[in-house]
């Protein structure tokens, strides 16, 4: 058995730190921005389970994210469900969508799978545009419920919730990575035929990865409507989520659970700074350019660069 305690200590410390910061007197804008960065940690980590480990490029992050958000809205509107219930239900529905998408498309390889996931986004978006109950094309304004006790504002609470979600997502990704599931997924990435021949249950593993990945993306989306106090189809199903969730693991490194986290924190922070100081368009441009630069120049991401640096230092000694 590997030594696990440093990871769990780190996870507990992260949650404790987030709670402490959430209760401290830090600037409200800090929470507003950090929430988005943490949300991308969840999305990037979720993407990496299927994209990084198994090598199936999912362009459909926005579909799972958006359906998670809309599930939360429906529950909130219909029953006034509390946030925790919204998140759990969103994870369940998005997981189901992931399972369905996987069932329909995982026989497809490479670009065919990727294009099919783009199709899922547009079909879900069209369905929501035509559903009056959730506001149709114009969207719907949501009134936040009163904030729970120890927190000063709703944004602070959402920040802590998202930090917990991020830790859960990373723990799940890490568990998958070090267990036999991760070995199976890596075998699929390297050669699906060979894996199948050696008795790896490829279809089951891919379905599992697709479901878990979708569920985590949905959970991340569930907090979005309350964060914005508003929901509309175009911004919930924006392809920008897809390209960010794909770019972050690619930039950080796809083979280790730490890669998406590094990528999301770096790129997410840069995005926040650029959005505030320059403009939202430049922010998407930064994602696109960094994605292309890394894919071309550093195929193994920042983690790959670090590994190479370590190797260089050792061999020069």
């Amino acid at each position: 058995m590997r030594r696990d305690w440093p990871f769990w200590a780190g996870a507990a410390a992260t949650v404790a730190l987030a709670a402490a910061v959430g209760l401290s007197g830090a600037n409200e804008y800090f929470f507003y921005a950090s929430f988005v960065v943490l949300q991308f940690v969840v999305l990037a980590t979720a993407w990496n389970i299927l994209g990084g480990y198994a090598g199936y490029v999912n362009f459909g992050t926005a579909a799972f994210f958006g359906i998670g958000a809309y599930t939360a809205v429906v529950l909130f509107k219909a029953a006034g469900a509390p946030l925790a219930v919204q998140i759990l239900a969103a994870a369940a529905i998005s997981g189901l969508l992931g399972f369905g998408t996987g069932l329909l498309t995982l026989r497809l390889r490479g670009i065919f799978f990727s294009i099919a996931t783009v199709a899922v986004i547009f079909i879900m978006e069209t369905a929501m545009v035509n559903w009056r109950y959730v506001g149709g094309a114009t969207g719907v304004q949501l009134l936040r419920p009163p904030v729970m006790e120890p927190f000063e504002s709703y944004t602070r609470m959402l920040f802590v919730v998202m930090a917990i979600l991020a830790v859960i997502a990373v723990s799940i990704a890490r568990y998958i990575e070090v267990s036999w599931i991760g070995r199976g997924l890596r075998a699929i990435r390297d050669s699906e035929e060979a894996a199948e021949c050696f008795g790896v249950p490829t279809l089951q593993l891919k379905l599992f990865a697709c479901t878990v990945s979708g569920a985590l993306m949905g959970a991340a989306g569930a907090a979005m409507p309350m964060y914005m106090s508003f929901i509309e189809p175009p911004s919930s199903f924006s392809l920008t989520y897809s390209v960010s969730a794909l770019a972050m693991p690619m930039i950080g490194g796809t083979s280790h659970w730490l890669g998406p986290v590094i990528g999301a924190i770096l790129l997410g922070s840069v995005q926040q700074i650029v959005t505030v100081t320059i403009s939202n368009e430049i922010n998407v441009l930064v994602v696109g350019v960094l994605l292309v630069v890394f894919v071309v120049a550093a195929p193994d991401g920042i983690l790959g660069l670090l590994k190479r640096l370590k190797w260089l230092l050792r061999s020069s000694r």
């Binding site: 547009f122 430049i282 998407v284 441009l285 292309v292 071309v296």
Partner: protein, 291 residues
């Protein structure tokens, strides 16, 4: 809405015009993705780029279709450059080219889209020409001239490319690369040069497709997103790389989209292409006319 035969006929007529247009915007992808196996997700973005270049030339009084033809050599060079870069950085390295190549083209599409937003803003742009804004009265139906023009250009373009690929020496070489690359290498030909040429032609054709796109309707930078669905639906439904199949698939998409548009309204139309794509991928991934 009540069903009426007249309305259905009108929908089919409009769908045929629309379908030929869809075939024309997909034919570049049919070469680059269908024949060359390049995961060219940026194809619609390059097409929208073509529309904006057409818009610029049109402001100096050039007819949009003429502008599109004038842009073709420029886009040919662009295509050659893109393929060369793709080959050197991904195809040559082999193994994991799939994932990274896809990410590369996805990123490229976003760079083009945001670049257009930064230069032109998010507003819709349109072109001016004598045939835009008027319609052709055909019995009791009225058909906008802009659709008729796009229909004509689309037919000529599709026919020209089909003849080029089946009758000329280089055209046949392109098909040979698609069928069996190692064999071509054994015959002493250089597959990379042929693919580079083919990708250039595919991109050049896309410039004209972009001109038609802005003739048919106003264009905005994010229009490429919905065309990812339309173009890939047509190419996959056609069976990769079949030119006549592309025309047939375009017609199927155009007619179904037009019927949905009339029966259920415009808000359902974007889902038609994507739904069709999912159904084809799920049931018959090799397409209707698969090789």
């Amino acid at each position: 809405m009540a069903f009426s035969f007249e309305l259905l006929l009108e929908a089919i007529l409009f769908g045929v015009l629309l379908g030929c247009f869809y075939a024309a915007v997909s034919i570049g992808l049919s070469v680059s993705f269908g024949l060359l196996d390049v995961p060219h997700v940026a194809h619609p973005a390059i097409m929208v780029l073509g529309s904006y270049c057409t818009y610029l030339l049109n402001r100096y009084g050039l007819d949009p279709i003429v502008a599109g033809i004038a842009l073709m050599p420029l886009f040919f060079i662009l295509g050659v450059a893109i393929y060369r870069f793709y080959y050197e950085t991904f195809e040559k390295r082999g193994s994991e080219a799939g994932v990274r190549g896809l990410a590369f083209f996805f990123g490229l599409a976003f760079i083009i889209e945001v670049g257009l937003i930064l230069v032109f803003g998010v507003d819709q742009r349109m072109v001016e020409a004598a045939y835009i804004g008027r319609s052709l009265a055909l019995g009791e139906f009225r058909i906008p001239w802009r659709m008729v023009v796009a229909f004509g250009v689309a037919l000529v373009l599709t026919a020209a490319l089909t003849i080029y690929l089946s009758r000329t020496f280089t055209g046949r070489a392109i098909k040979a690369v698609a069928q069996d690359e190692p064999a071509l290498r054994l015959m002493g030909a250089n597959p990379v040069r042929i693919k580079q040429w083919a990708f250039g032609i595919a991109t050049g054709v896309t410039a004209l497709a972009g001109a038609m796109l802005i003739v048919v309707g106003p264009v905005e930078p994010s229009l490429d997103r919905v065309y990812i669905g339309r173009t890939f639906a047509v190419v996959v439904l056609a069976g990769l790389g079949s030119m006549t199949g592309t025309l047939a698939a375009g017609l199927i998409l155009g007619i179904s989209e037009s019927i949905v548009l009339m029966q259920f309204g415009a808000s359902w139309a974007p889902a038609v292409a994507f739904g069709l794509l999912l159904v084809v991928l799920g049931i018959r991934p090799q397409g209707l006319f698969g090789r």
